[in-house]
Amino acid sequence: MSGIWQKTYQWIDERVQLGNLVEFMGKKYVPLHRGSIWYYFGGVSLFLFIIQVVTGILLLLYYKGGEELAFESIQFVMSRVAFGWLIRSIHSWAANLFILAAFIHMFSVFFEKAYRPPREITWVTGMMMFFLALGFGFSGYLLPWNELAFFATKVGTDIAGVIPLIGKPIMVFLRGGEEVTGATLTRFFGFHVAVLPGIFTVFLAVHLLLVQRQGMSVPLGHEEVHGPSEKAMPFFPNFLLRDLLLWLLVLNLLAILAVFFPWELGKKADAFAPAPAGIRPEWYFLFMFQTLKYFPGKIWFLDGELLGIGLFGVVALLWVMVPFWDRKSALGKRNRLLNYIGIAGVFYIIVFTILGWLL
């Protein structure tokens, strides 16, 4: 047994010099401090992403695009295909947990100021993946072609149309026409299974490469760890095993949610039915949705919607660019103001999400 492994290893090593990689892995240490628990959420996000790729490919085997086929094909998956209900339910639940894990990962990086030099690119690629994840959620939501998704897509793409000058062409591009129709479904399907995964993979590769190359960030005031130390744990195997244990727990949670709270399919979309009462977007869009509700149609001479979207756009841009303007953290000083802003942001998201849920 070990003879075969040794020979295989040698065969590959002779060709691609595995030795360097093994040596590198052996030297990787994970710093230990009061915030070490937050290191796990990047890995959890990655795990959930992998689940999405696998279950997504499984769903692809049965999914059919088109106004007259999409809803029926998901119905078929859920009622006729063995364990189809489970695969679909896992895909829907994992999508939500993925975004939740990414939220936690993002805010923990923010509060630990792990984005400060030299890790600006890691932050920016992470943010790009976060926006892509929202894109995955938005495009995937439409694919079953149900009532809720139909109106969510109408609203979501119409919001893009509010932007002056470029908004209308963007809306038509997204919808594949003036209205949300089967053409939109075809496009969203393409985005969801080809365009977004392709772009996401590139960012993911850069992100992971940088994490390996630069090592783990430590909170302000701690020394970076580059070798064996009392305040560090070897990545292999100590940290990796803990990672895997958590992945197992997440998989269990996912299984419980998928089995006991199966994701519903709802009613088939009908372009000539009114929007159903109580319609609301997925929870991760809810705080923005709720905010837009409070904006009147016109504020002074400005379009209320445009103002709301503009504000969110500016905040998102500032958020992505934080490593470049947070000079204080870059210099190794505590930036309390930014912490308060971050806490206010989290508080705002939570309160508006709850309001959106209740109202």
Partner: protein, 153 residues
């Protein structure tokens, strides 16, 4: 040293500039010849179809008082409302806010959009919530027992 180099460099620079413009221009032309078809391809062609000018809603007797019905007008939804008093109104059922489809709310006697709680009165005027303007009104014609709607010019 620099002085003696100067005269020899002038023709070289202009030759180099010439090549730079030729190559740069060629590169831009090449890029455009690729981008133009791709960008044009992304834009969906305009939908063909007959322009609908008038649609039959149905029999007047089928429209209950104090109710609203959504009918197809080409590929757009139109809401036909028969008030409690019996008068008929028709409006574009597409909310002027963000494109959702509105419905008649008997309990409030208003036209309501579920997406963002926008409200319109029975003349189509936006009275509450985020809608920025009134619903487009359609003309309602009753011929015998048949109800027709058509676009207001």
């Amino acid at each position: 040293m620099a002085m003696s180099d100067q005269p020899a460099q002038i023709p070289t620079t202009s030759k180099r500039d010439f090549l730079k413009y030729i190559l740069g221009g060629g590169l831009i032309a090449w890029g455009t010849s690729i981008l133009y078809p791709v960008l044009s391809y992304l834009k969906p062609p305009p939908e063909g179809g007959v322009e609908v000018t008038s649609v039959k809603v149905g029999a007047l007797s089928s429209l209950a008082k104090d109710s609203g019905t959504i009918v197809r007008f080409g590929n757009k939804p139109v809401i036909v409302i028969r008030t409690a008093a019996g008068s008929l109104h028709a409006f574009s059922a597409t909310c002027t806010h963000l494109d959702c489809t509105v419905q008649y709310r008997k309990d409030f006697g208003v036209i309501w959009c579920a997406c963002h709680n926008g409200k319109y009165d029975l003349t189509g005027r936006n009275i509450s919530g985020p809608p920025p303007r009134p619903l487009d009104e359609f003309r309602v014609v009753v011929q015998g027992d048949d109800v027709y709607i058509s676009k207001k010019s």
